[in-house]
């Protein structure tokens, strides 16, 4: 597999009234073509900021970006708004959590879908129409012709998310970012949408990055998983390896705190005491030290680097689970 996206030491800072907020603190990550990568983290972990910065969606006076984001070898960060647009749709596309706010409420689905096809691919109106119908079938929308003539508010959440996915894949992107694509959906609909995205990825040979807070979602739909905590990448491994042998105490604690149907009912859940560190502070310790049950003085006074265990399993911990 070839390298599609290469993020190196990406840092995103926001200027806020409280001072400089370090949302992403030097993340390096690669996505190979055709692979499915999960990025897992809780609120404030920087997962969404990272993906939006990669897409070139974060810019302006209040955002400071540094590091490098390369797509097929070309640097994306310095690109202007106009230049990055050339990448959207045809190379990188994104599905957002809330399709209702991502879709235009006053335009019919048909006109929103054909817009990209006409403007980006130079199709005629008839061609765009035919392709729109084809895409609607691809995302398994029942009665696609009728849905094309509807407005977003006339569709259910699940249908709207299917429309969003259809629009995202309309121009055959090589990489699809899905930012919490199913968080707003019911669990039975979530299962349908996740199966759909995974099928499409294989069928269209797209690479995909699923950003989610839910370890259950990545377990069954990704090849590799990156775990983020407080702006940092803290663990990265093959999905099976990560779940079988988490090295980072945070990952283990997160896994344990999830209520699961295959556990004893009514059993007390192990929880992670405390909350995430102040995002405006510089990091002079392990970001998880204050909440970690294994933390020592070293963890509280030094900042651990990302370490490879020799098999491509990366972790950011002085005392990884299972030993060094």
């Amino acid at each position: 597999m070839s390298e599609l996206l290469k993020i190196t030491d990406l840092r995103i800072d926001f200027h806020t009234p409280r001072g400089e907020l370090h949302a992403v603190r030097g993340v390096s990550l690669e996505v190979d073509s055709g692979e499915s990568l999960g990025i897992v983290g809780e609120s404030g972990s920087g997962k969404t900021v990272m993906s939006r910065a990669t897409m070139g969606l974060l810019r302006g006076r209040r955002v400071k970006r540094s590091g490098s984001v390369q797509f097929e070898g070309a640097e994306l960060l310095p690109l202007s708004n106009k230049e990055i647009r050339e990448y959207w749709g045809t190379k990188i596309a994104m599905v957002f959590q809330d399709p209702m706010t991502a879709l235009n409420p006053v335009r019919r689905i048909r006109s929103q879908m054909s817009e990209a096809l006409v403007k980006r691919l130079g199709k005629s109106k008839e061609e765009a129409n035919a392709r729109a119908l084809e895409l609607m079938k691809l995302v398994r929308i029942p009665d696609p012709e009728a849905v094309l003539d509807k407005y977003p508010h006339q569709l259910s959440g699940g249908m709207r998310q299917r429309v969003m996915i259809a629009m995202a894949i309309a121009c055959d992107p090589k990489l699809l970012f899905a930012d919490e694509p199913t968080t707003a959906l019911d669990v039975t609909v979530q299962a349908q949408i996740l199966e759909l995205i995974s099928d499409l990825r294989r069928k269209l040979n797209m690479a995909m990055v699923i950003i989610t807070h839910d370890l259950g979602v990545v377990a069954n739909h990704t090849d590799r998983v990156a775990v983020m905590y407080a702006g940092e990448l803290v663990e990265l491994a093959d999905t099976k390896d990560l779940f079988a042998r988490p090295r980072m105490p945070y990952t283990e604690a997160l896994m344990n705190s999830i209520p699961r149907l295959d556990r004893q009912p009514g059993a007390r859940l192990p929880s992670i005491a405390g909350s995430t560190p102040d995002p405006t502070m510089e990091r002079t310790s392990c970001g998880f030290a204050a909440r970690c049950q294994y933390a020592t003085d070293k963890c509280r006074n030094e900042h651990p680097e990302l370490t490879d265990d020799g098999n491509g399993h990366l972790y950011r911990c002085f005392f990884p689970l299972g030993g060094n």
Binding site: S156, V187, V189, G216, N220, P259, R260, P270, S275
Partner: protein
């Protein structure tokens, strides 16, 4: 259920809450009547946590609000500690309210942003004129520490200074101020991170033991429900499908809808085949529910009988009831 029935209700009278044939109707802007809750019966025994689980639009939140008498009902009975409250209003209703309290999904917006935390928690005592100032202050300190907040640190601060998890702790403390018998929790952990979610679930459990509460726990998340409840009621389109002890429901769901719900939950373990989509499509509109069993339009086992006849809740094993003509 997609059916009805009361077979699952306890015969003896020790229920903290007993709801029978509750109906709640909304009117759409077009003047159409939509039954969000159509003839639900359930009971909660002393010290029990009963969960109501279902997807968006199944009527679970409407049920919670109707039980609290926050919205009007269109029939049925609601008994709290054997007292009929479905028809009460005004001062009579106010008198029963201290026994039943509620916490909400969005704890930040359910707390007055201008009030200090200690006043928020103390307010119910002032409204009910209970205790003198010193007694009230002691009670507030006690409640805040019992939900894991340091009263000295948080007492003089305002809700906006706290995270969602901390605000939910404050809401719990406030809900317990009047020592209710019944605590209704409407999606209390849905907007919280998993690591915080488990903290709140544990607090609810501790509070239940400490104050002898009974809980009505509304949630869309079967795994959360599994972790906290004794019994579970599964709702679909305003009706009850299945009532079961929590453990039994996860391992042996008998209703086809419950089975689909259980299968769809992604378990964080790549070696297990979970998160499967068994159901196609989405629930039909409650404005125009299917005849007979309401789930039949999506059910893999549906027959003509399901369209003709509404299934009744029937006991299939001890304490496990299902409303289905062809249970799994």
């Amino acid at each position: 259920m997609a059916g009805t029935g009361k077979a699952h209700l306890a015969t003896s009278g020790d229920a903290v809450l007993r709801v029978e044939d509750l109906v709640v109707t909304y009117e759409t802007p077009g003047g159409e009547a939509v039954q969000a809750v159509s003839g639900i019966s359930l009971d909660i025994r002393e010290g029990e946590t009963l969960a109501v689980v279902g997807e968006s639009g199944c009527g679970k939140s409407t049920l919670a609000k109707a039980v609290m008498r926050l919205i009007p009902n269109d029939g049925g009975s609601i008994k709290v500690m054997d007292k009929e409250i479905a028809k009460l209003s005004g001062e009579e209703l106010r008198m029963v309210r201290p026994a039943m309290q509620m916490i909400f999904q969005d704890s930040i917006s359910s707390l007055d942003p201008h009030m200090k935390v200690k006043s928020l928690v103390e307010q119910p005592l002032r409204v009910w004129n209970r205790g003198n100032e010193a007694e009230r202050a002691a009670k507030v300190r006690d409640l805040l520490s019992s939900v894991g907040l340091d009263p000295e640190v948080v007492g003089d601060r305002k809700p906006t200074e706290f995270s969602g998890g901390q605000c939910q702790r404050i809401s719990i403390a406030r809900a317990l101020t009047l020592e209710p018998k019944l605590l209704i929790c409407d999606e209390p952990v849905s907007s919280l991170d998993v690591s915080i979610q488990s903290q709140i679930l544990n607090i609810l459990r501790d509070m239940k033991d400490r104050y002898g509460l009974s809980l009505l726990f509304i949630s869309h998340d079967l795994s959360v429900v599994h972790a906290i409840s004794d019994r579970v009621v599964v709702m679909y389109l305003g009706k009850v499908c299945e009532v079961s002890p929590a453990g039994d429901l996860a391992t042996n769901p008998r209703h086809h809808y419950t089975h689909a719900l259980v299968s769809a939950i992604p378990i964080p373990d790549p070696t297990k085949q979970t998160g499967r989509a068994i159901l196609e499509g989405e629930p039909p509109s409650p404005a125009n529910p299917p005849s007979g069993c309401r789930f039949r339009t999506r059910c893999p086992a549906a027959t003509e009988k399901c369209a003709a006849e509404e299934p009744q809740l029937t006991e299939v094993s001890v304490g496990h009831y299902v409303a289905c003509h062809h249970p799994r």
